[in-house]
Protein backbone atom coordinates (compact mmCIF):
# COMPACT_ATOMS: atom_id res chain seq x y z
CA UNK A 1 0.00 0.00 0.00
CA UNK A 2 2.67 2.48 1.02
CA UNK A 3 5.02 1.38 -1.76
CA UNK A 4 2.29 1.73 -4.36
CA UNK A 5 1.37 5.14 -2.99
CA UNK A 6 4.98 6.29 -3.12
CA UNK A 7 5.42 5.01 -6.66
CA UNK A 8 2.34 6.80 -7.97
CA UNK A 9 3.55 9.86 -6.06
CA UNK A 10 6.89 9.62 -7.83
CA UNK A 11 5.09 9.30 -11.16
CA UNK A 12 3.01 12.45 -10.74
CA UNK A 13 6.01 14.10 -9.07
CA UNK A 14 8.03 13.31 -12.19
CA UNK A 15 5.42 15.08 -14.29
CA UNK A 16 5.54 18.08 -11.93
CA UNK A 17 9.33 18.02 -12.20
CA UNK A 18 9.21 18.10 -16.01
CA UNK A 19 6.80 21.02 -15.93
CA UNK A 20 8.78 22.83 -13.25
CA UNK A 21 12.06 22.66 -15.17
CA UNK A 22 10.28 23.62 -18.39
CA UNK A 23 8.71 26.56 -16.58
CA UNK A 24 12.04 27.68 -15.15
CA UNK A 25 13.89 27.29 -18.45
CA UNK A 26 12.04 30.11 -20.22
CA UNK A 27 12.21 32.12 -17.01
CA UNK A 28 15.96 31.70 -16.70
CA UNK A 29 16.80 32.32 -20.34
CA UNK A 30 14.19 34.86 -21.38
CA UNK A 31 12.65 36.08 -18.13
CA UNK A 32 9.27 34.74 -19.24
CA UNK A 33 6.93 33.04 -16.80
CA UNK A 34 4.84 30.85 -19.05
CA UNK A 35 1.34 30.80 -17.58
CA UNK A 36 0.10 28.96 -20.67
CA UNK A 37 1.84 25.74 -19.66
CA UNK A 38 -1.38 24.04 -18.68
CA UNK A 39 -2.69 24.50 -22.21
CA UNK A 40 0.48 23.10 -23.77
CA UNK A 41 0.03 19.96 -21.64
CA UNK A 42 -3.49 19.55 -22.96
CA UNK A 43 -2.63 20.29 -26.61
CA UNK A 44 0.10 17.65 -26.74
CA UNK A 45 -2.26 15.09 -25.20
CA UNK A 46 -5.05 16.02 -27.64
CA UNK A 47 -2.77 15.76 -30.67
CA UNK A 48 -1.33 12.47 -29.40
CA UNK A 49 -4.83 11.13 -28.85
CA UNK A 50 -6.01 12.19 -32.31
CA UNK A 51 -3.09 10.56 -34.04
CA UNK A 52 -3.15 7.33 -32.05
CA UNK A 53 -6.89 6.75 -31.61
CA UNK A 54 -8.39 8.40 -34.71
CA UNK A 55 -5.64 7.83 -37.24
CA UNK A 56 -4.27 4.59 -35.85
CA UNK A 57 -0.65 5.66 -35.64
CA UNK A 58 1.63 3.72 -33.33
CA UNK A 59 1.70 5.29 -29.89
CA UNK A 60 5.31 6.39 -29.98
CA UNK A 61 4.76 8.20 -33.30
CA UNK A 62 1.62 9.90 -32.04
CA UNK A 63 3.45 10.92 -28.87
CA UNK A 64 6.27 12.48 -30.87
CA UNK A 65 3.81 14.38 -33.07
CA UNK A 66 2.08 15.69 -29.94
CA UNK A 67 5.39 16.86 -28.50
CA UNK A 68 6.36 18.37 -31.86
CA UNK A 69 3.14 20.37 -32.11
CA UNK A 70 3.67 21.71 -28.59
CA UNK A 71 7.24 22.70 -29.50
CA UNK A 72 6.14 24.49 -32.69
CA UNK A 73 3.43 26.35 -30.76
CA UNK A 74 6.16 27.29 -28.30
CA UNK A 75 8.24 28.85 -31.07
CA UNK A 76 5.16 30.78 -32.24
CA UNK A 77 4.50 31.85 -28.69
CA UNK A 78 7.96 33.37 -28.46
CA UNK A 79 7.07 35.56 -31.43
CA UNK A 80 4.04 37.09 -29.71
CA UNK A 81 5.24 37.22 -26.10
CA UNK A 82 9.00 37.56 -25.69
CA UNK A 83 9.80 39.31 -28.95
CA UNK A 84 7.51 42.34 -28.64
CA UNK A 85 7.63 42.56 -24.85
CA UNK A 86 11.06 41.62 -23.50
CA UNK A 87 12.05 45.23 -22.98
CA UNK A 88 8.80 46.16 -21.28
CA UNK A 89 7.43 45.61 -17.79
CA UNK A 90 7.27 42.05 -16.46
CA UNK A 91 3.56 42.39 -16.02
CA UNK A 92 2.95 42.72 -19.76
CA UNK A 93 4.73 39.46 -20.41
CA UNK A 94 2.77 37.66 -17.70
CA UNK A 95 -0.49 38.88 -19.18
CA UNK A 96 0.57 37.99 -22.71
CA UNK A 97 1.33 34.39 -21.72
CA UNK A 98 -2.06 34.19 -20.01
CA UNK A 99 -3.59 35.51 -23.24
CA UNK A 100 -1.76 32.85 -25.27
CA UNK A 101 -3.17 30.27 -22.86
CA UNK A 102 -6.70 31.56 -23.42
CA UNK A 103 -6.21 31.44 -27.21
CA UNK A 104 -4.80 27.90 -27.17
CA UNK A 105 -7.50 26.71 -24.80
CA UNK A 106 -10.28 28.12 -26.95
CA UNK A 107 -8.63 26.91 -30.15
CA UNK A 108 -8.40 23.41 -28.70
CA UNK A 109 -12.01 23.64 -27.59
CA UNK A 110 -13.09 24.54 -31.13
CA UNK A 111 -11.01 21.76 -32.69
CA UNK A 112 -11.60 18.90 -30.25
CA UNK A 113 -14.81 19.88 -28.51
CA UNK A 114 -15.74 19.42 -24.88
CA UNK A 115 -15.85 15.60 -24.85
CA UNK A 116 -12.96 13.88 -23.11
CA UNK A 117 -10.55 11.85 -25.24
CA UNK A 118 -8.30 9.01 -24.25
CA UNK A 119 -4.64 8.35 -24.79
CA UNK A 120 -3.14 4.98 -23.96
CA UNK A 121 0.13 4.67 -22.13
CA UNK A 122 3.30 3.78 -23.97
CA UNK A 123 3.72 0.75 -21.72
CA UNK A 124 1.01 -1.81 -20.92
CA UNK A 125 -1.01 -1.13 -17.81
CA UNK A 126 -0.01 -4.19 -15.78
CA UNK A 127 1.21 -4.46 -12.22
CA UNK A 128 4.68 -5.81 -11.68
CA UNK A 129 6.03 -7.46 -8.57
CA UNK A 130 9.09 -5.92 -6.93
CA UNK A 131 10.18 -7.15 -3.49
CA UNK A 132 6.71 -8.35 -2.67
CA UNK A 133 4.96 -5.11 -3.70
CA UNK A 134 2.64 -4.91 -6.67
CA UNK A 135 3.63 -1.72 -8.44
CA UNK A 136 2.11 -0.07 -11.48
CA UNK A 137 4.33 -0.35 -14.54
CA UNK A 138 2.79 2.84 -15.96
CA UNK A 139 3.76 4.81 -12.85
CA UNK A 140 7.30 3.49 -12.91
CA UNK A 141 7.58 4.29 -16.61
CA UNK A 142 6.36 7.89 -16.12
CA UNK A 143 8.80 8.36 -13.27
CA UNK A 144 11.80 7.01 -15.19
CA UNK A 145 11.09 8.91 -18.41
CA UNK A 146 10.61 12.17 -16.46
CA UNK A 147 13.83 11.70 -14.54
CA UNK A 148 15.72 10.86 -17.75
CA UNK A 149 14.35 13.97 -19.47
CA UNK A 150 15.16 16.23 -16.51
CA UNK A 151 18.69 14.83 -16.23
CA UNK A 152 19.08 15.11 -20.00
CA UNK A 153 18.08 18.77 -19.90
CA UNK A 154 20.53 19.33 -17.08
CA UNK A 155 23.33 17.75 -19.11
CA UNK A 156 22.44 19.85 -22.14
CA UNK A 157 22.53 22.98 -20.03
CA UNK A 158 25.77 22.19 -18.23
CA UNK A 159 27.81 20.25 -20.80
CA UNK A 160 27.03 21.61 -24.25
CA UNK A 161 27.85 24.77 -26.12
CA UNK A 162 24.12 25.49 -26.44
CA UNK A 163 23.72 25.18 -22.69
CA UNK A 164 26.53 27.62 -22.00
CA UNK A 165 25.05 30.04 -24.52
CA UNK A 166 21.74 29.80 -22.68
CA UNK A 167 23.48 30.43 -19.39
CA UNK A 168 25.22 33.47 -20.86
CA UNK A 169 21.95 34.77 -22.25
CA UNK A 170 20.26 34.36 -18.90
CA UNK A 171 23.03 36.14 -17.00
CA UNK A 172 23.45 39.10 -19.30
CA UNK A 173 21.77 39.12 -22.72
CA UNK A 174 23.50 42.29 -23.91
CA UNK A 175 27.01 41.07 -23.19
CA UNK A 176 26.14 37.63 -24.54
CA UNK A 177 25.06 39.26 -27.77
CA UNK A 178 28.29 41.25 -27.94
CA UNK A 179 30.19 37.99 -27.55
CA UNK A 180 28.56 36.68 -30.69
CA UNK A 181 25.72 34.68 -29.22
CA UNK A 182 22.51 34.98 -31.21
CA UNK A 183 20.40 35.61 -28.14
CA UNK A 184 17.19 35.86 -30.13
CA UNK A 185 17.72 32.37 -31.47
CA UNK A 186 18.75 31.06 -28.05
CA UNK A 187 15.50 32.30 -26.54
CA UNK A 188 13.49 30.60 -29.29
CA UNK A 189 15.36 27.35 -28.64
CA UNK A 190 14.65 27.71 -24.92
CA UNK A 191 10.95 28.14 -25.71
CA UNK A 192 10.96 25.12 -28.02
CA UNK A 193 12.71 22.90 -25.45
CA UNK A 194 10.45 24.17 -22.69
CA UNK A 195 7.16 23.65 -24.51
CA UNK A 196 8.43 20.36 -25.93
CA UNK A 197 9.10 19.10 -22.40
CA UNK A 198 5.70 20.40 -21.37
CA UNK A 199 4.19 18.43 -24.25
CA UNK A 200 6.09 15.33 -23.12
CA UNK A 201 4.63 15.80 -19.65
CA UNK A 202 1.17 15.97 -21.26
CA UNK A 203 1.74 12.72 -23.17
CA UNK A 204 3.00 11.02 -19.99
CA UNK A 205 0.21 12.21 -17.73
CA UNK A 206 -2.68 11.73 -20.18
CA UNK A 207 -3.20 8.00 -19.48
CA UNK A 208 -3.71 8.78 -15.78
CA UNK A 209 -6.61 11.14 -16.48
CA UNK A 210 -9.07 11.78 -19.28
CA UNK A 211 -7.77 14.10 -21.99
CA UNK A 212 -9.71 17.35 -21.65
CA UNK A 213 -8.70 20.94 -22.05
CA UNK A 214 -8.40 21.15 -18.27
CA UNK A 215 -5.96 18.24 -18.13
CA UNK A 216 -2.96 20.43 -17.36
CA UNK A 217 -4.59 23.05 -15.17
CA UNK A 218 -4.00 21.71 -11.67
CA UNK A 219 -0.81 19.89 -12.66
CA UNK A 220 0.79 23.05 -14.01
CA UNK A 221 -0.26 25.09 -10.98
CA UNK A 222 1.33 22.50 -8.71
CA UNK A 223 4.48 22.56 -10.82
CA UNK A 224 4.60 26.35 -10.26
CA UNK A 225 4.25 25.66 -6.55
CA UNK A 226 7.02 23.07 -6.70
CA UNK A 227 9.34 25.48 -8.47
CA UNK A 228 8.88 27.97 -5.64
CA UNK A 229 9.29 25.32 -2.94
CA UNK A 230 12.46 24.06 -4.59
CA UNK A 231 13.98 27.45 -5.04
CA UNK A 232 13.07 29.65 -7.93
CA UNK A 233 15.56 29.62 -10.76
CA UNK A 234 17.23 26.45 -9.53
CA UNK A 235 16.27 23.66 -11.97
CA UNK A 236 17.62 20.70 -10.02
CA UNK A 237 16.17 21.98 -6.77
CA UNK A 238 12.79 22.49 -8.38
CA UNK A 239 12.85 18.98 -9.87
CA UNK A 240 13.68 17.41 -6.50
CA UNK A 241 11.02 19.47 -4.76
CA UNK A 242 8.52 18.45 -7.44
CA UNK A 243 9.23 14.75 -6.86
CA UNK A 244 8.92 15.22 -3.10
CA UNK A 245 5.70 17.16 -3.56
CA UNK A 246 4.25 14.34 -5.66
CA UNK A 247 5.09 11.78 -2.99
CA UNK A 248 3.91 13.92 -0.06
CA UNK A 249 0.58 14.81 -1.61
CA UNK A 250 -0.06 11.24 -2.66
CA UNK A 251 0.70 9.95 0.83
CA UNK A 252 -1.52 12.66 2.28
CA UNK A 253 -4.25 11.70 -0.18
CA UNK A 254 -3.99 8.07 0.90
CA UNK A 255 -3.72 8.53 4.65
CA UNK A 256 -5.37 11.86 5.49
CA UNK A 257 -8.06 12.24 2.87
CA UNK A 258 -8.45 13.18 -0.74
CA UNK A 259 -9.43 16.80 0.03
CA UNK A 260 -6.01 17.46 1.53
CA UNK A 261 -4.29 16.21 -1.61
CA UNK A 262 -4.84 19.29 -3.77
CA UNK A 263 -4.48 21.77 -0.94
CA UNK A 264 -1.05 20.64 0.23
CA UNK A 265 0.96 21.98 -2.72
CA UNK A 266 -0.43 25.50 -2.42
CA UNK A 267 -0.34 25.56 1.36
CA UNK A 268 3.32 24.52 1.26
CA UNK A 269 4.01 27.15 -1.37
CA UNK A 270 2.49 29.93 0.75
CA UNK A 271 4.37 28.71 3.82
CA UNK A 272 7.63 28.74 1.88
CA UNK A 273 6.97 32.16 0.41
CA UNK A 274 6.45 33.52 3.89
CA UNK A 275 9.13 31.65 5.82
CA UNK A 276 11.79 30.91 3.25
CA UNK A 277 11.13 32.61 -0.08
CA UNK A 278 14.36 31.33 -1.58
CA UNK A 279 12.99 27.78 -1.32
CA UNK A 280 14.74 24.66 -0.11
CA UNK A 281 17.69 24.75 -2.48
CA UNK A 282 17.71 28.32 -3.66
CA UNK A 283 20.06 31.10 -2.86
CA UNK A 284 18.78 34.38 -1.49
CA UNK A 285 16.26 35.97 -3.82
CA UNK A 286 13.78 38.75 -3.91
CA UNK A 287 14.35 41.89 -2.00
CA UNK A 288 14.32 42.72 1.62
CA UNK A 289 12.19 45.67 2.49
Amino acid sequence: MIAQSIVSGLAIGGVYALLAVAFLLTYRVGGVLNFAQAQFVAVAAFVGSTFSVRMGWPLIGAALVGIGVAAILGALMERVTYLPLHNKAHASMIISTVAVGIIIEQGAHLIWGPDPRTLASLVPNVPIEIAGNRLSLVSLFIFFISVILVIGLNLVLSRTRLGRQMEATSVDPDTAQLMGIRTGRIVIIAFVISTGLTGAAGILVAPMFAVTIHLGFLIALKAFAASIIGGFGNLTGAAIAALMLGVVENLAGTFIGSESKDLIAFALMIVFLIVRPQGIFGTKVGEKL
Binding site: H90, I95, A99, I102, I103, L110, L221, G286
Partner: protein
Protein backbone atom coordinates in the same frame (compact mmCIF):
# COMPACT_ATOMS: atom_id res chain seq x y z
CA UNK B 1 -5.14 69.56 -4.18
CA UNK B 2 -1.56 69.58 -5.31
CA UNK B 3 -0.51 72.26 -2.90
CA UNK B 4 -2.16 70.60 0.02
CA UNK B 5 -0.56 67.22 -0.53
CA UNK B 6 2.90 68.55 -1.22
CA UNK B 7 2.98 69.82 2.36
CA UNK B 8 2.93 66.21 3.53
CA UNK B 9 6.28 64.66 4.32
CA UNK B 10 7.75 62.61 1.54
CA UNK B 11 5.82 64.15 -1.30
CA UNK B 12 8.28 66.73 -2.61
CA UNK B 13 11.10 64.23 -2.52
CA UNK B 14 9.51 61.84 -4.99
CA UNK B 15 7.90 64.63 -6.91
CA UNK B 16 10.35 64.77 -9.80
CA UNK B 17 10.36 61.03 -10.37
CA UNK B 18 6.83 61.16 -11.65
CA UNK B 19 6.05 62.60 -15.02
CA UNK B 20 4.15 65.82 -14.61
CA UNK B 21 2.26 67.03 -11.60
CA UNK B 22 -1.31 65.92 -11.18
CA UNK B 23 -3.43 68.95 -11.86
CA UNK B 24 -7.03 69.50 -11.13
CA UNK B 25 -8.66 70.12 -14.48
CA UNK B 26 -11.17 72.92 -14.71
CA UNK B 27 -14.02 70.52 -15.43
CA UNK B 28 -13.41 68.62 -12.18
CA UNK B 29 -16.12 70.38 -10.16
CA UNK B 30 -18.60 69.38 -12.79
CA UNK B 31 -17.36 65.87 -13.53
CA UNK B 32 -18.27 64.07 -10.31
CA UNK B 33 -21.84 65.34 -9.97
CA UNK B 34 -22.32 64.56 -13.66
CA UNK B 35 -21.05 61.01 -13.24
CA UNK B 36 -23.28 60.57 -10.18
CA UNK B 37 -26.30 61.76 -12.18
CA UNK B 38 -25.28 59.45 -15.03
CA UNK B 39 -24.97 56.41 -12.74
CA UNK B 40 -28.34 57.04 -11.08
CA UNK B 41 -29.95 58.14 -14.34
CA UNK B 42 -28.91 55.00 -16.18
CA UNK B 43 -30.59 52.90 -13.49
CA UNK B 44 -33.89 54.62 -14.31
CA UNK B 45 -33.46 54.82 -18.07
CA UNK B 46 -32.54 51.17 -18.67
CA UNK B 47 -35.87 49.32 -18.74
CA UNK B 48 -34.69 45.85 -19.65
CA UNK B 49 -34.05 43.83 -16.46
CA UNK B 50 -31.33 41.79 -18.13
CA UNK B 51 -29.31 44.79 -19.27
CA UNK B 52 -29.85 46.40 -15.89
CA UNK B 53 -28.25 43.33 -14.34
CA UNK B 54 -25.33 43.51 -16.77
CA UNK B 55 -24.93 47.18 -15.90
CA UNK B 56 -24.78 46.40 -12.18
CA UNK B 57 -22.16 43.74 -12.93
CA UNK B 58 -20.13 46.31 -14.82
CA UNK B 59 -20.39 48.75 -11.91
CA UNK B 60 -19.28 46.07 -9.45
CA UNK B 61 -16.33 45.26 -11.70
CA UNK B 62 -15.45 48.95 -11.98
CA UNK B 63 -14.99 48.98 -8.20
CA UNK B 64 -12.72 45.93 -8.31
CA UNK B 65 -10.81 47.22 -11.34
CA UNK B 66 -10.04 50.70 -9.98
CA UNK B 67 -8.81 48.99 -6.80
CA UNK B 68 -6.53 46.75 -8.83
CA UNK B 69 -5.42 49.86 -10.71
CA UNK B 70 -3.91 51.10 -7.45
CA UNK B 71 -2.10 47.79 -6.94
CA UNK B 72 -1.01 47.19 -10.52
CA UNK B 73 -1.25 50.45 -12.43
CA UNK B 74 0.04 52.78 -9.74
CA UNK B 75 2.50 50.60 -7.88
CA UNK B 76 3.25 47.97 -10.52
CA UNK B 77 2.46 44.82 -8.56
CA UNK B 78 0.91 41.96 -10.49
CA UNK B 79 -1.86 40.27 -8.53
CA UNK B 80 -3.34 37.11 -10.00
CA UNK B 81 -5.39 36.50 -6.87
CA UNK B 82 -7.99 39.26 -6.90
CA UNK B 83 -10.77 36.67 -7.19
CA UNK B 84 -9.76 35.43 -3.74
CA UNK B 85 -10.42 38.85 -2.19
CA UNK B 86 -13.64 39.08 -4.16
CA UNK B 87 -14.55 35.71 -2.66
CA UNK B 88 -13.59 36.79 0.87
CA UNK B 89 -15.86 39.83 0.56
CA UNK B 90 -18.69 37.80 -0.93
CA UNK B 91 -18.54 34.99 1.60
CA UNK B 92 -18.14 37.25 4.61
CA UNK B 93 -21.20 39.22 3.58
CA UNK B 94 -23.16 36.18 2.53
CA UNK B 95 -22.48 34.18 5.67
CA UNK B 96 -23.08 37.11 8.05
CA UNK B 97 -26.43 37.83 6.40
CA UNK B 98 -27.65 34.25 6.16
CA UNK B 99 -26.20 32.71 9.32
CA UNK B 100 -26.06 35.60 11.78
CA UNK B 101 -28.88 37.63 10.21
CA UNK B 102 -26.89 40.82 10.00
CA UNK B 103 -28.16 43.76 7.99
CA UNK B 104 -26.70 44.08 4.51
CA UNK B 105 -24.87 47.34 5.20
CA UNK B 106 -22.80 46.16 8.17
CA UNK B 107 -22.23 42.84 6.42
CA UNK B 108 -20.77 44.63 3.40
CA UNK B 109 -18.54 46.71 5.69
CA UNK B 110 -17.44 43.51 7.41
CA UNK B 111 -16.67 41.99 4.02
CA UNK B 112 -14.43 44.93 3.16
CA UNK B 113 -12.76 44.72 6.57
CA UNK B 114 -12.09 41.01 6.06
CA UNK B 115 -10.59 41.68 2.63
CA UNK B 116 -8.37 44.43 4.02
CA UNK B 117 -7.18 42.25 6.90
CA UNK B 118 -6.35 39.31 4.66
CA UNK B 119 -4.72 41.72 2.20
CA UNK B 120 -2.42 43.03 4.93
CA UNK B 121 -1.78 39.50 6.15
CA UNK B 122 -0.79 38.30 2.70
CA UNK B 123 0.86 41.56 1.69
CA UNK B 124 3.39 41.89 4.49
CA UNK B 125 5.20 38.59 3.88
CA UNK B 126 4.83 38.32 0.11
CA UNK B 127 5.72 41.87 -0.87
CA UNK B 128 9.31 41.16 0.00
CA UNK B 129 9.11 39.37 -3.32
CA UNK B 130 9.43 41.10 -6.63
CA UNK B 131 7.05 41.06 -9.61
CA UNK B 132 7.31 37.48 -10.72
CA UNK B 133 7.12 36.04 -7.26
CA UNK B 134 4.13 38.10 -6.31
CA UNK B 135 2.25 36.89 -9.39
CA UNK B 136 2.94 33.29 -8.40
CA UNK B 137 2.19 33.86 -4.71
CA UNK B 138 -1.15 35.52 -5.42
CA UNK B 139 -1.95 32.80 -7.94
CA UNK B 140 -1.32 30.17 -5.26
CA UNK B 141 -3.29 32.17 -2.71
CA UNK B 142 -6.27 32.32 -5.08
CA UNK B 143 -6.08 28.57 -5.47
CA UNK B 144 -5.93 27.99 -1.71
CA UNK B 145 -8.97 30.19 -1.10
CA UNK B 146 -10.92 28.47 -3.90
CA UNK B 147 -10.13 25.07 -2.37
CA UNK B 148 -11.07 26.19 1.13
CA UNK B 149 -14.42 27.41 -0.18
CA UNK B 150 -15.14 23.99 -1.66
CA UNK B 151 -13.79 21.88 1.18
CA UNK B 152 -14.73 23.72 4.40
CA UNK B 153 -18.28 22.48 4.07
CA UNK B 154 -19.46 23.26 7.61
CA UNK B 155 -18.83 26.96 7.07
CA UNK B 156 -19.19 27.59 3.35
CA UNK B 157 -21.61 24.79 2.44
CA UNK B 158 -19.08 23.55 -0.10
CA UNK B 159 -19.84 23.49 -3.79
CA UNK B 160 -23.56 24.11 -3.29
CA UNK B 161 -22.83 27.67 -2.20
CA UNK B 162 -24.81 30.08 -0.05
CA UNK B 163 -28.38 30.95 -1.04
CA UNK B 164 -30.83 33.66 -0.05
CA UNK B 165 -28.44 36.48 0.77
CA UNK B 166 -31.07 39.16 1.29
CA UNK B 167 -31.48 41.58 4.16
CA UNK B 168 -32.36 45.23 4.68
CA UNK B 169 -29.44 47.56 4.12
CA UNK B 170 -29.83 49.40 7.45
CA UNK B 171 -32.80 49.04 9.77
CA UNK B 172 -35.89 48.92 7.59
CA UNK B 173 -34.33 50.38 4.45
CA UNK B 174 -34.12 47.59 1.92
CA UNK B 175 -32.80 47.34 -1.61
CA UNK B 176 -35.34 45.09 -3.30
CA UNK B 177 -35.26 45.33 -7.08
CA UNK B 178 -32.30 45.23 -9.42
CA UNK B 179 -32.97 48.94 -9.99
CA UNK B 180 -32.47 49.76 -6.30
CA UNK B 181 -29.17 47.91 -6.40
CA UNK B 182 -28.18 49.63 -9.64
CA UNK B 183 -28.58 53.01 -7.93
CA UNK B 184 -26.72 51.90 -4.79
CA UNK B 185 -23.85 50.22 -6.64
CA UNK B 186 -23.69 53.07 -9.15
CA UNK B 187 -23.18 55.61 -6.38
CA UNK B 188 -20.52 53.42 -4.78
CA UNK B 189 -18.75 52.90 -8.11
CA UNK B 190 -18.53 56.65 -8.75
CA UNK B 191 -17.34 57.04 -5.15
CA UNK B 192 -14.70 54.37 -5.72
CA UNK B 193 -13.38 56.12 -8.82
CA UNK B 194 -13.27 59.39 -6.89
CA UNK B 195 -11.37 57.83 -3.98
CA UNK B 196 -8.87 56.22 -6.35
CA UNK B 197 -8.31 59.54 -8.09
CA UNK B 198 -7.61 61.14 -4.72
CA UNK B 199 -5.20 58.33 -3.86
CA UNK B 200 -3.45 58.77 -7.20
CA UNK B 201 -2.98 62.48 -6.61
CA UNK B 202 -1.93 62.12 -2.99
CA UNK B 203 1.64 61.88 -1.80
CA UNK B 204 1.11 58.15 -1.32
CA UNK B 205 -0.06 57.83 -4.91
CA UNK B 206 3.03 59.56 -6.17
CA UNK B 207 5.20 57.42 -3.92
CA UNK B 208 3.52 54.36 -5.46
CA UNK B 209 4.36 55.54 -8.96
CA UNK B 210 7.94 56.19 -7.89
CA UNK B 211 8.18 52.65 -6.51
CA UNK B 212 6.73 51.29 -9.73
CA UNK B 213 9.21 53.14 -11.92
CA UNK B 214 12.28 52.45 -9.80
CA UNK B 215 12.07 51.03 -6.32
CA UNK B 216 15.77 51.67 -5.72
CA UNK B 217 15.45 55.34 -6.59
CA UNK B 218 12.26 55.65 -4.57
CA UNK B 219 13.89 54.06 -1.53
CA UNK B 220 16.86 56.37 -1.92
CA UNK B 221 14.44 59.30 -1.89
CA UNK B 222 13.11 58.17 1.46
CA UNK B 223 9.99 56.34 0.35
CA UNK B 224 9.25 53.38 2.60
CA UNK B 225 8.90 50.55 0.11
CA UNK B 226 7.17 48.22 2.53
CA UNK B 227 4.55 50.78 3.59
CA UNK B 228 3.79 51.85 0.06
CA UNK B 229 3.64 48.35 -1.39
CA UNK B 230 1.55 46.87 1.38
CA UNK B 231 -0.78 49.87 1.27
CA UNK B 232 -1.23 49.58 -2.50
CA UNK B 233 -1.82 45.84 -2.29
CA UNK B 234 -4.28 46.25 0.58
CA UNK B 235 -6.25 48.94 -1.23
CA UNK B 236 -6.62 46.57 -4.19
CA UNK B 237 -7.72 43.80 -1.83
CA UNK B 238 -10.23 46.05 -0.06
CA UNK B 239 -11.86 47.24 -3.28
CA UNK B 240 -12.04 43.67 -4.59
CA UNK B 241 -13.68 42.60 -1.32
CA UNK B 242 -16.18 45.48 -1.57
CA UNK B 243 -17.01 44.41 -5.12
CA UNK B 244 -17.42 40.81 -3.98
CA UNK B 245 -19.70 41.85 -1.11
CA UNK B 246 -21.88 43.93 -3.43
CA UNK B 247 -22.01 41.08 -5.93
CA UNK B 248 -23.22 38.72 -3.18
CA UNK B 249 -25.91 41.25 -2.27
CA UNK B 250 -27.08 41.80 -5.83
CA UNK B 251 -27.10 38.18 -6.95
CA UNK B 252 -28.21 36.84 -3.49
CA UNK B 253 -26.41 33.59 -4.28
CA UNK B 254 -22.71 32.73 -4.19
CA UNK B 255 -20.83 29.55 -4.98
CA UNK B 256 -17.14 28.68 -5.30
CA UNK B 257 -17.45 28.30 -9.08
CA UNK B 258 -17.41 32.09 -9.47
CA UNK B 259 -14.09 32.71 -7.83
CA UNK B 260 -11.68 31.06 -10.24
CA UNK B 261 -8.39 32.05 -11.79
CA UNK B 262 -10.40 33.14 -14.83
CA UNK B 263 -12.00 35.90 -12.75
CA UNK B 264 -8.60 37.03 -11.43
CA UNK B 265 -7.27 37.15 -14.97
CA UNK B 266 -10.37 39.01 -16.13
CA UNK B 267 -9.84 41.66 -13.44
CA UNK B 268 -6.22 42.12 -14.44
CA UNK B 269 -7.28 42.26 -18.09
CA UNK B 270 -9.69 45.08 -17.29
CA UNK B 271 -6.83 47.23 -16.05
CA UNK B 272 -4.59 46.27 -18.96
CA UNK B 273 -7.15 46.49 -21.77
CA UNK B 274 -8.44 49.81 -20.50
CA UNK B 275 -4.94 51.11 -19.92
CA UNK B 276 -2.97 50.78 -16.71
CA UNK B 277 -1.72 54.37 -16.82
CA UNK B 278 -5.02 55.82 -15.62
CA UNK B 279 -7.90 54.89 -13.36
CA UNK B 280 -10.22 55.83 -16.23
CA UNK B 281 -8.55 53.04 -18.15
CA UNK B 282 -9.63 50.58 -15.46
CA UNK B 283 -13.18 51.94 -15.67
CA UNK B 284 -13.28 51.55 -19.45
CA UNK B 285 -11.66 48.12 -19.22
CA UNK B 286 -14.25 46.92 -16.70
CA UNK B 287 -17.10 48.11 -18.91
CA UNK B 288 -15.57 46.58 -22.05
CA UNK B 289 -14.76 43.21 -20.46
CA UNK B 290 -18.23 42.91 -18.90
CA UNK B 291 -20.13 43.96 -22.00
CA UNK B 292 -17.94 42.17 -24.56
CA UNK B 293 -19.46 38.70 -24.06
CA UNK B 294 -22.96 40.22 -24.21
CA UNK B 295 -22.20 42.02 -27.46
CA UNK B 296 -20.54 38.95 -28.96
CA UNK B 297 -23.36 36.63 -27.90
CA UNK B 298 -24.11 35.72 -31.50
CA UNK B 299 -20.56 34.40 -31.96
CA UNK B 300 -20.29 32.98 -28.46
CA UNK B 301 -18.10 30.09 -29.57
CA UNK B 302 -15.38 32.46 -30.63
CA UNK B 303 -15.74 34.94 -27.80
CA UNK B 304 -12.84 33.67 -25.68
CA UNK B 305 -10.64 33.38 -28.74
CA UNK B 306 -11.40 36.99 -29.54
CA UNK B 307 -10.81 37.96 -25.92
CA UNK B 308 -7.41 36.28 -25.88
CA UNK B 309 -6.32 37.89 -29.12
CA UNK B 310 -7.57 41.29 -27.96
CA UNK B 311 -5.55 40.93 -24.77
CA UNK B 312 -2.43 39.88 -26.64
CA UNK B 313 -2.67 42.67 -29.20
CA UNK B 314 -3.32 45.36 -26.61
CA UNK B 315 -0.47 44.25 -24.35
CA UNK B 316 2.00 43.96 -27.22
CA UNK B 317 1.06 46.82 -29.48
CA UNK B 318 -1.12 49.21 -27.49
CA UNK B 319 0.60 49.46 -24.11
CA UNK B 320 -1.47 52.44 -23.04
CA UNK B 321 -4.67 50.47 -23.55
CA UNK B 322 -7.98 51.81 -24.81
CA UNK B 323 -7.82 54.89 -22.59
CA UNK B 324 -4.63 56.01 -24.28
CA UNK B 325 -6.32 55.52 -27.62
CA UNK B 326 -9.25 57.65 -26.50
CA UNK B 327 -6.88 60.26 -25.16
CA UNK B 328 -4.56 60.52 -28.12
CA UNK B 329 -7.28 60.89 -30.74
CA UNK B 330 -8.88 64.00 -29.16
CA UNK B 331 -5.39 65.27 -28.35
CA UNK B 332 -4.43 65.05 -32.00
CA UNK B 333 -7.54 67.04 -32.85
CA UNK B 334 -6.94 69.60 -30.09
CA UNK B 335 -3.29 70.06 -31.04
CA UNK B 336 -4.54 70.73 -34.54
CA UNK B 337 -6.88 73.36 -33.13
CA UNK B 338 -4.09 74.79 -30.97
CA UNK B 339 -2.01 75.29 -34.04
CA UNK B 340 -4.79 77.38 -35.52
CA UNK B 341 -5.40 79.41 -32.41
CA UNK B 342 -2.81 79.67 -29.66
CA UNK B 343 -4.35 79.00 -26.23
CA UNK B 344 -3.08 79.16 -22.63
CA UNK B 345 -3.24 75.35 -22.72
CA UNK B 346 0.36 75.28 -23.96
CA UNK B 347 1.59 77.37 -21.05
CA UNK B 348 0.00 75.10 -18.44
CA UNK B 349 1.49 72.04 -20.08
CA UNK B 350 4.98 73.49 -19.85
CA UNK B 351 4.45 74.38 -16.24
CA UNK B 352 3.37 70.84 -15.42
CA UNK B 353 6.49 69.24 -16.73
Amino acid sequence: MTNKSSKLAGAPRVHFLVEGTPKTPRYEWFLWPALMVLAIGLAFVVENQYWLQVMVNAEVMIIAAVGLYVTFGLSGQVSLGQAAFYAIGGYTTGLLVTKLEWDMGPAILAGVAAGVLVGIGLGIPTLRLKGHYLALATLGFGQVVAMILVNWKSLTQGATGVRGIAAPLFGSFELVSVRDWAIFVGILAVGAIFVVQRIRNSSFGRAMQAVRDSDVAAAAMGVSLSHVKVLAFTIGAGFAALAGSLNAGVVTYISPGTYTLILSVAMLSMVVVGGSSSHWGAVIGAIVIVFLPEVLRSVERYYLLFYGILLLVIVAYLPGGLWNLFKTVPKAISSFLVRIKSTPEVATLREGE
